[in-house]
Structures are given as structure tokens and as C-alpha cells.
């Protein structure tokens, strides 16, 4: 019984540690973009973001005009880069914020 408890505790500890390590390098970016109103607008915007090395997932909230990007912490965005990126797609970049981890959006 005691041996079984040790195995369970050991396994649980390993899972928690590995999960923590996996999340440690992830960053969520919330990008505010004006002018997106349609599915094709979303597709063209998400396509360019998902093409960036280190970006793991992208989702869009049309009503808020917000694109949420989950990326590893090696990915960096600049205002100038995002302004051009969205201007090329016909939209207006407004701002970006970030926080560690990709679990809570």
C-alpha cells in the first residue's frame, strides 16, 4: 500500500513538473486590430501569424477586434512589424499586450 502511494505521488509530481516546464516558455500575446469584420479577414490575419516560427496557435475574437497568439518566448513582436503586417491586409494595428503562459486568456 505504501509502495503504491509512493508510485502515485512520484508520477503526479513528474506530471506537474513536466507541465510546469512546458508552460514556462510560453507567452500569450493579445493583439488589438481594427477593421476585421469577416471570416476571410480573420483567415488572412491568422495565416501570417501562424507562419512565424515559434507561434503555436492563433485565435480571433471578431467582436473585440482581438487576435490571441500563443508562442514560445523566443518570438517577439514590435509595433512597427505589426503595423505593417496588418496594414498589408487592409486593417489597422492598435496595440499589443502579453502575459506568461498560454492557459489563461
Amino acid at each position: 500500500m505504501r509502495k503504491s502511494m509512493k508510485i502515485i505521488l512520484s508520477t503526479a509530481t513528474s506530471l506537474v513538473l513536466s507541465s510546469t516546464l512546458a508552460l514556462a516558455g510560453e507567452v500569450t500575446y493579445d493583439i488589438r486590430v481594427d477593421g476585421m469584420t469577416c471570416p476571410f479577414c480573420v483567415a488572412t490575419s491568422e495565416k501570417v501569424l501562424t507562419g512565424i516560427d515559434g507561434v503555436m496557435s492563433v485565435s480571433t475574437d471578431l467582436d473585440k477586434g482581438q487576435i490571441t497568439v500563443c508562442a514560445d518566448d523566443k518570438v517577439t513582436f514590435t509595433d512597427a512589424q505589426l503595423e505593417k503586417m496588418f496594414l498589408d491586409r487592409g486593417f489597422t494595428y492598435r496595440s499589443i499586450t502579453s502575459h506568461e503562459g498560454c492557459g489563461a486568456t
Partner: protein, 308 residues
Amino acid sequence: MTLSASHTLRLLNAAPFYSTLLLGALLSGALPSGDSAQAAAITFNTALPVGRNHQIARVQYIYDKASSPNLERTANNALGVLAYGVTSRLALFGILPYANKQLQTPAGTREASGFGDARFFARYTLFQQNAPGKTLRFAPFVGVEAPTGKHDEHDDDGLLPPSLQPGSGAWDVFGGIVATYATTRWQNDTQISYRANNVSGAVNGFEAGNVYRADTSLQYRLAQPEFQGPAFLFGVLEANLIYQDRNEKLGIRDPNSGGTTLMLAPGLQYATLRWIAETAVQIPVAQNLNGTALEKDVTVRASVRINF
């Protein structure tokens, strides 16, 4: 954990039946004939952008029927449309039609098939004002229709009439302006356009009358079906007001041609991130045509647009 798969589209807090939106980018077609290139409106164009170096393709089927007491003309048309974003403001469009046309007369049926006249036009976004989930745009456009289709098809009774020929044999020019106001709940596209036919001169003694046109389209999101991933279903209602000058034959105005037609077009659009399927039925609600000109009975459109 992390966000779900990439390319997910979420309308947070949007209840299916109360949210709206409008749809997406693309191309519809433009012109007097109402063929579409880019998209929101089904029977004409939109001012929504085509991203730089992005392409949108559209394949459209159009069934058209017109008649007079002794004649009935039907046409089955297939159009291929390509749009390319040179910049976020400048988009180029190319349209290649293929048509099968039949004319039933008391003496029998006359018919012609083949590729029609290719159209090329440019659209430039002159003004745009963006806000979260909203956009207002004005985009003038100008283009040409090249005489790529056959215009001298014959049957046993001789040269087919111009309305049956796949092509006009002449260069035409057209232009106009389209305005779009789009939110995530609904969208309106409104366009005025002018088309000068036969600017290169008469063909076989025939010169088609010029066309003045005003169009408007309202798209309203009806639902957000979940069964196939993110997608939107729009209800569409469009109106097309078309005035055409009389044609000329051998320099003489044809009294049985030209006039004014007002059509209403209810339709549906199903839009996803990568493709849109849509259909609309154009029903003439008022026609004031000259003489015995053929009256339009109905036009049915179905198309698919793909965003590359």
C-alpha cells in the same frame, strides 16, 4: 493549457441569432452584368480588402431567362474569377465567362456556346476608417472587357443575333465606385457603375447600349453553425437597378431594346475561414422596357469563393 488549434475563429459572447456579421472578404464581381469577383454582395462587388499578395478565386454559375410573347432566351453561364491584392488598397480582378445560350423562336431553337469576353479591372480603396469589429470603405474601380469571345457564330439560319453570341467582338469599358460598411453583425455594400459598350465601334453593324447601374446589398448573420467548425450563415437581400440605352443597328436606334429593370435578390451565404458558398435568386419586380425588348424572367446565381 494552450489555446486550441490555430485558425480558430471565435465570436466571444456572440449568441447565434443575435449576433451578426458580415462576411468576408472577397470578391464579387462587378459589373453591369452583375458577375462577381469579390465578395460580400452576391450580385456585384464589395470594398472589403484583398490582402497584399493574397488571392481569392470564385467560380460562379448563373442561369438567366428572359422572354417576350414570341421569344424565350435562356443562358447557362459559368464564370471563373481571380482577385489578387497588389497592395492592401489596390486589387486586380480577372473574369473569364463561359456561356451556353439558347433562343427559342416560333421557327425553332438557335444556340451558341463558348468562352465569352474576358474582363479585367482594378479597384482602389480611396478611403477607409477602421474600428474594432467595424470598417467603412470607399473604393472606385475601372476596367475593360476584351473581345475574347466569338462574335460571328452561325447556324443554318445564318449569323446568330448579338444576344446569342458568346462574345461581343468589341472592347467595352466600365467604372464605378463601391462603398462598404461592415460590422461583425451586418454589412451593407452599395455600388454605382457605368459601362460604355462598343467603345471600339460597332460589330456586324451592332452596337449595344450603354448601361447605368445602382446596386445595394444587406447581409445579416442568421446563425453560427457549430457542426463543421467556425462558420457563419448570412441572410442576404440585394437590389439591382439597371438602365440600358437602346442598341443601335447600322447606326439606327433599335426601338425594341433598352429600358429600366429593378430586381430584388434574396440569398444565402455560408462563410468559413477559407471558403464561402452562396446563392441568390434575382427576381424582376419592375421593368420598363422599350418596345418588344425581352423581359427578364429570373436569374439564379450560385458560387463558391476560396481564400488562398
